[in-house]
Symmetry: D2
Subunit: 353 residues, 4 copies
């Protein structure tokens, strides 16, 4: 109820604060007998890790996952998979200056009003550090999904937009550059843009696209738990996300039915795919694709006016090690959340077969 | 699990097919002692009703709600509120021509593949007729929320866009025109556009905006069940929705942190509101606002090629009474889903107080 | 959350008061393609029905179920199954004398304190009339479970106890007598006892036993949702139940391990079955059996001292048509709840296969 | 769904195997601002700990809880409380002899059939070692419940039964003896009995009673989630439990209504309390009391015939360090589960106030 769990049959519960002892999670409902590739999990963690390149925060964390249960002899046992990621680089002192201060467009004010108390170190529970647990669980979900392939990538940084049709993208290029854009030329511009922004002590927003291939027909539950509704919730639950659209998205709202309808081929595939692989909330076997908008990081290295918890106006200046743009590190998080949604529906769908 | 329930503490379960005996629902978790204004419920049903104006489907349904339990002497008793809406105007014969045919961009194909069987009459469970139950429950949620005011309105029809800042909108005008746009001039253009489209036998998409005022601080649960994540899921669960954005939305992804941050006033309000009334997934007391994209209705009054369930290519032509554009009737549905989300978080928030 | 739903994958939500317009329910999660035998459902309703024999309440209700959705062409469609049972025989005037009075050992006092309001007619929501919905859903669950056979029966009325080992019981005799005891001689004594009690204007308790055959190995989830824990909850949720034991039960607490352990045969069956068909919370393929204790009905046809809602001591005398002993009518309710538990675990178990 | 979580608003998820790296849990939904008394938690762990006296298993485990999140400055923050208990004394070699063998009346056979794989060391997930996590969470729930006092105690060991009315028990004596019976004379007999049994290499069952005082009126949800139904499920989910009864229990099934009804005093209390503090599934403010039956431990130090996973009949002899009788160590577990149920309903009840 308190919102730290995700998924019904493939269920993840997470815990942990940015600067506490450890973050961790419990995956309940993963079927038994699944071979677990620990390296693949760690690889996704490394893609999310701070300090991985010159355009992300220089905070250093090994982000090594330690499994405590649920895996025996390299296989899942059907019992809950508990895991932790220890916080190695907890410089809590970095945060004493914000103990009583509400940072603009952060969660400090709302947490304080809701709970009457908060762990202010590094944002505590509201920090995007929590997503490290999602990446672990998502990596296991990917292994459960086997042939389903999830490709997230940076589709824009500020006003630099990847302008290529989705079916012309070569996802083998995504990891070939530090911004994770599957088009080298655009990637270079994005990297340049982020470097400029960092020099200004500012931050910038961006978008992450995602294409999912080989999805079986039938995933998603009609009415409230439509496949795209759960994907939307999943993406909107990621820190800094402001919008989600799938298939034709917002552009689709400008179209006519005669333009927008996807005409069937005899085999049930469709000639176009403005539906985005989902019809009536249920996957139809075509590629699923969607786009996620991220706002600029709220912590900037410039002076800003704000207030403290007594209502005094104070001046604050960002300190510490922060991302000038979150989208490069958000790519594995988007993939992880998509994997969690699909794994859940994959299991729910067994009801009918 | 099968996705016909929404909400955790204020929980709605719906049932019913477009052309079955009745649709209905159960609201579980509504606190006792709430005075129920039946007229207000029926009024919202009337705003959603087919046949209400010349720009919506001419199908006639009284859409009268009948309460079966949970209300005694005009007040809720704390026990589940069961209700039904009988299907008065079931012309099932209208649908015999699509019994074996998969209509393009409808849910016929995916339902058949998922369940192996479907009630094909009027789309059965996949019909937007299901939302009649959401409007009933949403109208009760509004009564629980008392001072919280939810204003949905049509923000675009095709490429005709309401271009006014949100804080300049006069929501008393929304119901003054049949398209439900709170700007008379723009409304006229939208109505004209819909009439043209209908003449062409075509359909068109649009967007619905929503502003929520007087939200108490503290609603929303951090991490997975962020307030905007649940609002997003709620909206994406409405038939034909392709996208959701709140606050600065997709535009926010192009901004810098120094432009996007909302600076506090001494009283905790903010000078700007790009956050859209939500910080860290929790309401901050400022207005919540969001925008929802609807695709054009898939049923058009033109010939389209499609396939039947044997894979034969067939030609079909839309029959019956359909909406040329869903957004005017979607306005009360968006409000209802927003009310359900807020009522749920309002109750969850009692945990902390 | 408010407790009117049961089951996770095979989920029943019920609504309705004893003397409201109708009771009803929604079954969500029943797989598609199941042939529904309406007569079998009505037959179970008839076994629960008031007025069915001279030893039960003479209140008359047709208790005819009306399905509103989810069944098409005689088969389930995978969408929610909505149903209602109209209250035909609502003599609300019978209850005006208890409007302000708390009947001893009824739920009047606790409902009033919890909700501040109650539908006092016939106990409202606290009436065992609610179980009519459970019988409908249970009858569908039985059809889903196919070969699994659930045999409930009256095992005692007051101090008249059926003293036969479970494996010597002939369940074809259960329905041969009005008390539903599968031993004709004991049945006669029980019937006699109930008639005496009724003449005294009193009521008496009893127990219902249940044996479940052909349960597949593997049902039940370890730790919190053990098969017997959910069966226990299911039985304890039935009105008037005070205790539940399975397998060796309370007697098992007096035994030694060397006596109690069930030794395996080579095929995995066990020579004895003190485990009651469940080991570690998971079915082992042997017969499941359990026993449920029901208190005497609280409404007696004798004068009793009690209080009203102002704390005044008043004298009251039972009126209306009540059961002298609930166990004969409880037999199909116990079966229904057992079927709901098993159907749910049957679906959950698909996760692993 | 996979059954490793308990509670709706005050929710515990546990993980961990008997001989894995660690066991642990996540408490989600504990309100913020609660002062946490770590010593009280450790004290309950010590009451459950192996090796605490001569009548329990001599296995040594420090059972020290380590909190990872959710507590800051000695207070809960409203975020999830993650914790682990490391397995210090993992002699996995003790269990190599049972790798392929199904121990009689253990969960080996059913786990293998359900999951196709199991962690056989010490029973893995099916071990009662899992309850260590329940005790941690229960101890926090007790702190949330403040004035509500939960007194569990040993009410019988084999045929040695504590024969005193509940209201004559002095619970200050429970911890004065190693068997945890609040009557010194009976305690001595019980201890003697357990010592004899252990000498025989055998085990014996017993019962644990529990009395809960100062429960506010109104806890429990009607229909499926009755207070006693959830208490029953909670108790039946504890390893080795075979039965649960509350209030008059199985004895109540032999009584007449005129004997069983609890007559009200003017202040709403009742002159007798055969209802066991619960009417219609809702607490009435009187003492809640119940009794829980535990079977004898299945691991005995005697030769037993059994089978291996190939269906070969083999002879096995218990090894290792096991309890001759579980009830003394079960006392804090019963309290913990009762506390979890009450804390959950305490929070749910805030809906109505």
């Amino acid at each position: 109820m308190a919102g730290n769990s995700f998924g019904k049959l493939f269920n993840l519960t997470t815990f942990g604060e940015s600067h506490g002892v450890a973050l961790g999670g419990v995956i309940d409902g993963c079927p038994s007998g699944l071979d677990i590739d620990i390296d693949a999990i760690q690889n996704d963690l490394n893609r999310r890790k701070p300090g991985q390149s010159e355009i992300v925060t220089q905070r250093k964390e090994p982000d090594t996952v330690k499994f405590l249960s649920g895996i025996f002899g390299g296989k899942t046992t059907g019992t809950p998979i508990g895991f932790i990621i220890e916080n190695a680089n907890q410089k809590s002192n970095d945060y004493s200056h914000i103990k009583d201060v509400y940072r603009p467009s952060h969660a400090d004010y709302t947490y304080d009003k809701k709970y009457g108390v908060r762990d202010y170190r590094g944002g505590g529970r509201s920090s995007a550090r929590e997503t490290v647990c999602r990446v672990v669980a998502g990596a296991i979900a990917k292994q459960l999904l086997k042939d389903v392939k999830i490709y997230a990538y940076v589709s824009s940084v500020g006003d630099i937009v990847l302008n290529k049709p989705i079916n012309e993208l070569d996802f083998t290029l995504t990891e070939s550059n530090i911004v994770r854009c599957p088009d080298t030329e655009t990637a270079d511009k994005m990297i340049e843009r982020i470097k400029e922004i960092r020099k200004e002590g500012d931050t910038i927003g961006g978008t992450v696209g995602c294409v999912i291939k080989n999805v079986p027909v039938g995933l998603g539950e009609p009415v409230f738990d439509k496949l795209h509704a759960e994907l939307g919730k999943a993406m909107l639950s990621i820190n800094a996300v402001k919008g989600f659209e799938y298939g034709s998205g917002f552009e689709g709202s400008k179209m006519k039915g005669s333009e927008h309808n996807d005409i069937f081929n005899a085999d049930g595939t469709t000639k176009t795919n403005l539906s985005g692989g989902i019809q009536g909330g249920i996957s139809n076997g075509m590629d699923i694709y969607f786009n996620v908008a991220f706002k600029p990081v709220a912590t900037i290295m410039q002076s800003q006016e704000t207030i403290d918890n007594q209502g005094n106006v104070v001046d604050m200046h960002g300190k510490g090690r922060h991302d000038p743009c979150v989208v490069p590190r958000a790519v594995p998080i988007v993939e992880a959340m998509a994997a969690l949604v699909l794994a859940d529906f994959y299991l729910i769908n067994k009801l009918y077969h």
